[in-house]
Amino acid sequence: MRLPIVFGCFAAAVTLTAQADYAGVGRDATPAEVAAWDIDVRPDFLGLPPGSGSVEDGEELWIEKCSSCHGDFGDANHVFPPLIGNTTTEDIETGHVASLKKGGAVRTTIAKVSTVSTLWDFINRAMPWNAPKSLSTDQVYAILAYLLNLAEIVPNDYVLSNENIAEVQQRMPNRNGMTRDHGMWTIDGKPDTHNTACMKNCKKEATILSSLPDYARGANGDLSKQNREYGPVRGVPTPEPGAAAPAAAATDDKTPGPPTAILAANGCTGCHGMDQKVVGPAFSHVAEKYHGQADIVSRLSGRIRNGGSGSWGSIPMPPQPQLTDAEIQTIVEWLAAGAKH
């Protein structure tokens, strides 16, 4: 939101001394600076820049920029809970998403969000995830129009704009689904629960309502490696599900583990899952595809360094000039050995 700047530089300097006397600290922002950063859009559309975009254009942009992670119809579940689904025409009438109350259904973004401004604001500031703030204003309108169309909030031939977005708000499926009636906004708010500090014989017996299922004991890895090896307690050894006996694995297996630090520090894991396609192929699928090929090391080294497309689809892998040769070698040796993780 923008306010007119009423003070010139001279006036500001005078106010500064009069007001707080932090002489020489900070300065007034220029209108251009405020405009560059003040990108938020409120539910009353304060801050929404003028522009427009059609469902049709949005579909094309969606396929190009968003579908690799969110699915062609905003319904993919592998990077994030789906954006679209589980709302009905009846919800659009009532402004309450029935599936939220009923439970059992995946809570999609469109089922939860109450204001269309939220989606405009977020797509504009943060998406695509790996290239935030790369969309033009009209592109944001178009992509949002496509998402709204998928949710059957606007028709196929709709052109969303700053002029008609307030009408769309009146059709948001969960527009009446938010409450601020609770005691957790103010410091002296009223709590929900009222336990008492009973000290003796507070109940007859302690009934266990839930305990960790056996199969989940090792789901978080070997707990004996997550505690000190001295002190009052030890971590309980919990082999991960499906893992071989730890002793055998430790002595016989020389296969390199994933170079986690390098992959994380260079953003590889943003586009590649271990077993899942994200934007690029899963590392395990890469390992499988080139398994046993004589030129696997040189081929993959070159591809990681220089990027490119065509082996897995039309989306290009960006070049990685920042990696050292040694880092590339570590990654490729791990892939060549089967991408064990």
Binding site: K101, T115, A206, L223, G235, V236, G273
Partner: protein, 451 residues
């Protein structure tokens, strides 16, 4: 088996004749040097792992007189140590590598929009080592060049302002110790027990000393509109440019923009070089890599105030702006996934905190909440900070259920799971502050249960 292995420093009975006569002869001849000691240690462990109660081995002459780690001076007692500044920054001992931040598998499929949990099970006091402070990012973390970082204040202010780090570090500074808890801490446990240890049940929690400038100082410098400006938007400089709405009443009370954490600059994962510190308020509002503050007259309904960080209530309504973290406590040791090494005396220890003020009392139960005993609160007990509690316990080897229950200075008593679910159901995701239970089995193994 392991119970023998896990009691170093005790005089163990040697399993019979696990040392061959040749080794004993060598020891007699060359003395008990490092090579032979290492060999002995290895075979002793192997042997004691294979055998349980065994009579005193005649072969082990030296240990019979006492602990070999006392009787035979270790290398650190008999060698020259390393020079100063050989590790100019410093790092934990190599024996401490088990206690690190960890992700919980299956929680998120990409590590840039995920959580790494703090290993509470092995930590002491009320300050979290900066390198172990939990991480929660939505779009990865950045390492911002501080000389190019700016903070802007705009909106309902007389003069929109810009500050460099040079500016901010010249302004009157305060240092405050506060807890920081993600609104989704313990989220996986709403419906039932899901994860094994306190690292995963409660590890989106930290306590630190923050240094920076009070927000009231900056807002006054910008001449904010006290009457209309009831809300403040905070926005990050990273790709996600996370935004959150804060109540002005809270902001003026004790919020700050912080550059320092635990005596050094913030770590990059925690918002270097500047983050919001909003004491008592859920972590998502402590915007990292803070670039902008905007004063406004209405809340913003940001993505993380509508689609995420809104608590789904049983009637299908989503509770927005559940901001304050209510009182909560947890026993950190002994805790799930650990095993007591023996019967006998233990110091049971844990953490308590409340977003509404100070911890007044913590009670501990060893029988699943039938009887309770007041724990010792360690000093200092600070507002909106972690409070460490301890209590003596002699474990007699019988099954037990350990619980802690905090009472804060508003008189609020931490709820049971049953009480919490009565109001909030099981689908809330956020703000689970129920009493945590740890079951101790006869074997000494501790596991996560709900009572």
């Amino acid at each position: 088996m392991t119970s023998k292995k896990i009691r170093p420093g005790r005089l163990l009975k040697a399993p019979e004749s696990f040392l061959d006569p040749q080794f004993i002869a060598e020891v007699k001849q060359h003395g008990f040097d490092e090579t032979r000691r290492a060999f002995l240690r290895k075979s002793f462990l192997a042997a004691s792992a294979a055998l349980t109660a065994a009579p005193l081995g005649e072969a082990l002459a030296a240990p019979a007189q006492g602990d070999p780690d006392i009787l035979n001076l270790p290398p650190w007692t008999t060698t020259l140590g390393k020079p100063v500044a050989s590790r100019p920054y410093g790092s934990p001992a190599k024996y401490e590598m088990n206690l690190v931040r960890r992700e919980s598998p299956g929680l998120a499929s990409v590590s840039q929009a995920s959580v790494a949990f703090t290993p509470l099970q092995g930590m002491f006091g009320i300050i979290t080592a900066s390198g172990l402070h939990y991480e929660r990012h939505h779009q990865g973390w950045e390492e911002i060049d501080p000389s190019r970082h700016r903070l802007m204040i705009n909106g309902l202010v007389k003069r929109p302002r810009v500050y460099t780090m040079d500016d901010l570090m010249r302004l009157p500074s305060v240092s405050r110790i506060h807890f920081l808890e993600c609104g989704a801490n313990s989220a996986m446990e709403w419906g039932n027990v899901a994860v094994p240890t306190v690292q995963y049940t409660h590890g989106m929690l930290s306590g630190s000393e923050f240094t920076g400038v009070l927000l009231s100082t900056l807002l006054e410098d910008a001449g904010f509109d006290r009457k209309r400006g009831q809300y403040l938007l905070a926005e990050g400089a990273d790709g996600s440019s996370m935004t959150r709405t804060l109540p002005m009443e809270r902001v003026l009370d004790d919020c700050l923009v912080a550059y320092g954490m635990n005596g050094e600059m913030l770590r990059p994962e925690n918002g270097y070089p500047l983050r919001l510190v909003a004491p008592g308020i859920q972590g998502v509002s402590w915007v990292k890599w803070l670039r902008r503050l905007e004063v406004g007259d209405k809340p913003w309904n940001a993505k993380d105030e509508t689609s995420q960080y809104a608590d789904l209530m049983p009637d299908g309504m989503q509770r927005q702006y559940a901001t304050i973290q209510e009182a909560k406590s947890v026993i950190t040791s002994p805790s799930g996934g650990q095993k007591l090494i023996d019967k006998g005396f233990y110091n049971v220890t844990g953490l308590a905190w409340t977003g509404r003020g100070k911890v007044k009392r913590v009670d501990v139960s060893f029988d699943g909440g039938i009887n309770w005993h007041a724990a010792r609160l360690e000093q200092p007990v600070l507002p909106k900070a972690l409070t460490r509690f301890n209590i003596d316990w002699v474990w007699n080897g019988a099954p037990a259920i350990l619980q802690s229950r905090v009472i804060d200075d508003t008189g609020f008593v931490q709820p049971t799971y049953t009480q919490l679910r009565e109001v909030r159901g099981t689908r809330s995701v956020y703000h689970n502050n129920a009493i945590q239970s740890w079951k101790v089995a006869e074997s000494g193994e501790v596991s996560n249960v709900q009572v």
